[in-house]
């Protein structure tokens, strides 16, 4: 990116200089904070049995208590310790976002590379399907489908979200595949008789790792927020302990109107921080790698 314009005007020079400095330091800071946050959540999820002061499902505490030394975030209206729920809620939230991210990227990578590599009629059909799914209103579809399936499990929800969110990645990956295909090393590989499978997995895929990773984290961000929204609406699995279901029960018990901010604010903050972790990693990767990638996407 820095070699784009060898001679430049003062303004562009300033931009370029800043961009150079920016691209080396800032994204690293962004990515580092993001990775740090994510690791903290993973640790919280793994250590939940150790850290959590009480069982998240035990209902024997005083009902609807405000924060106290015994219950740092108070208790729910049915007498559960909110801090314990929050700590245990990390597990399903991490789980569902990473699962959704993985499924979505698998589909996106498969379709994107296939379309870019084969071109012709298969490309046309795949891109038509991609563009159609792209214009479907995904949040509406996700809500409707999860309402058709009563009490959908987390894995089902992951699949539903993946079903409507793969096209973004597929388009970017197809564009990058087309770009890589014009490079000499891929041409050489094809000329030397490597089959499509080998070209896809050994030549093209390793060279777009950062792109796939950035998209993966972006999908994770989308999944965290979407799953929480669904659970808040009472769709999906609201009886398991998760951040979204805490919010659902808080809202159901009018936590806001009785001023129980300790019930209602922390899960939202947790979702936001996990989302921010994914976003920061995504931006970090995006800025570290070639920014032209974005402009080449259709």
């Amino acid at each position: 990116m820095s070699a784009a314009s060898p001679s430049s005007t003062p303004a562009q020079g300033a931009f370029r200089k800043f961009r150079e400095r920016n691209s080396r330091i800032l994204p690293n800071i962004k990515a580092r904070i993001g990775v740090g946050l994510l690791l903290a959540f993973v640790l919280l999820a793994v250590l939940a049995p150790v850290i959590s002061p009480y069982s998240p499902t035990y209902t024997g505490f005083s009902l609807g208590a405000s924060p106290s030394p015994a219950h740092l975030l108070g208790t729910t209206r049915s007498g559960q310790d909110i801090l314990s729920q929050l700590i245990w809620g990390t597990r399903p939230s991490l789980d569902v976002s990473l699962t959704t991210g993985s499924i979505t990227m698998l589909v996106a990578v498969a379709i994107g590379i296939l379309a870019g590599l084969l071109e012709g009629i298969i490309d046309e059909i795949l891109m038509l399907a991609t563009n159609i799914v792209l214009v479907l209103p995904s949040i509406v579809l996700v809500i409707v489908i999860s309402s058709y399936i009563s009490a959908a499990s987390d894995v089902t929800i992951s699949f539903i979200i993946a079903l409507t969110s793969w096209p973004w990645g597929a388009r970017v990956i197809r564009a990058q595949t087309l770009h890589l295909k014009s490079k000499d090393f891929v041409k050489a590989a094809i000329a030397s008789g490597e089959n499509h499978f080998r070209v896809a997995f050994f030549e093209i895929l390793p060279n777009m790792f950062s792109l796939v990773a950035a998209n993966f984290f972006f999908t994770c961000l989308y999944a965290v927020v979407t799953v929480a929204s669904l659970q808040f609406l009472g769709l999906g699995n609201i009886n398991a302990i998760s951040w979204g279901s805490i919010l659902y029960w808080a809202n159901n018990s009018n936590a806001l109107m009785i001023g129980a901010w300790w019930w209602f604010l922390p899960p939202g903050l947790a979702i936001g921080l996990l989302g921010a972790a994914f976003a920061l990693i995504n931006f970090g990767i995006d800025e570290l790698t070639n920014p032209r990638l974005r402009r080449e996407g259709p």
Binding site: T9, L128, I132, V135, F232, L233, I271, A279
Partner: protein, 329 residues
């Protein structure tokens, strides 16, 4: 014009695909929602409602699926979306007709305001690239983007609406008022719209700002900007009259596309603020398993998204001649 023809064909295909998905979706679901519905409502349904479910779900099992599909298409062509179960005997199209204007008003207006503010912030960020304003805004938007919308909305509702009591917290107008075109009623409607509108603007302005900032920065690297600078034109003028115009192009397309999501995109806003729009109606339908209504709303939402995308394509080809030339190759 070949470009436009291609796009028109695409949208026709996409629309048929959407209708087809809408038709097959409930039929493909495990546990057959139609049967569950029949057992739930039992003998309490009257013939018209029954007919409506039959069409939505194809309960005539003896009829081949193709016939059912054609019947469904026929009903759609006559603008007949069926009868609602939860709000029986209201028709689905009637319910949608009542809810749609509220959504268009609230979300449409909020989106326009958000777009304008976002473009201004984005331009300033690009102008002061790397400065304090830019850094602050970028960081700030990372967070508004990551937090779940409904939670921010609830927090605003709690703080501004409940604790401070500045704005009404639910509905589109006070329940004791009769909708008229009087000044006091209009004022009441606006007062009710401010809080939900603020939350939409707050959470969506970052998207426009970041996009505008990035496209402007990209545009500033173009040769004609260098040329303008060589001529000694001030940076401010370059940003406003040279780069800004071109940088705003992709954002206008994005704006047109987002108009399509207005109809379906604010489900959570309407639910949190009990706003009587389409999103709220959909949620009610989902909760009460009113399948004909769900199907009808899904249909309307898909249609408006496609229509808005088409408008976006047309606008872009009008504004940017390169698209038209590219289509002729």
């Amino acid at each position: 014009m070949r470009y436009l023809m291609r796009r028109i064909i695409f949208y026709v295909v996409a629309f048929v695909a959407t209708i087809t998905i809408n038709f097959f979706l409930p039929r493909a679901m495990p546990g057959n929602p139609a049967e569950a519905l029949m057992s739930k409502f039992g003998g309490r349904l009257n013939p018209l409602a029954l007919k409506s479910i039959e069409i939505a779900f194809g309960l005539h099992e003896h009829e081949p699926i193709w016939n059912q599909y054609l019947q469904y298409l026929g009903q759609l062509l006559h603008g007949n979306l069926g009868t609602s179960l939860a709000y029986y005997p209201a028709s689905v199209s009637g319910l949608i007709g009542t809810a749609l204007p509220w959504t268009l008003f609230l979300v449409g207006l909020s989106t326009i305001i958000s777009f304008v503010i976002g473009i201004i912030i984005g331009s300033i960020s690009a102008w002061r690239f790397g400065g304090a304003f830019d850094t602050f805004m970028s960081t700030f938007f990372t967070f508004t983007y990551a937090f779940p919308y409904f939670w921010i909305a609830l927090a605003c509702l709690y703080l501004i609406g409940y604790l401070w009591g500045v704005f009404p917290i639910s509905g589109a107008y006070s329940m004791d008022l009769v909708p008229t075109l009087s000044g006091s009623f209009v004022f009441n409607v606006i007062r009710h719209a401010i809080l939900p509108s603020l939350t939409i603007i707050f959470t969506s302005v970052g998207y426009w700002a970041v996009n505008m900032r990035n496209t402007t920065i990209t545009t500033l690297a173009e040769d004609y900007v260098t040329m303008a600078e060589a001529k000694g034109i001030t940076l401010r003028r370059i940003l406003l009259r040279y780069a800004g115009r071109n940088a705003i192009l992709p954002n206008i397309t994005g704006f047109a596309m987002s108009m399509g999501f207005i109809v379906g995109g604010a489900i959570l806003t309407e639910i949190v603020f009990s706003y009587p729009g389409l999103g709220n109606l959909l949620f009610q339908a989902v909760q009460q398993e009113d399948y004909p209504l769900i199907q009808g709303i899904l249909m309307i939402i898909s249609f408006s998204v496609l229509a808005a995308n088409f408008v976006a394509d047309v606008t872009y080809s009008l504004l940017d001649p390169r698209v038209r030339v590219g289509g002729n190759q």
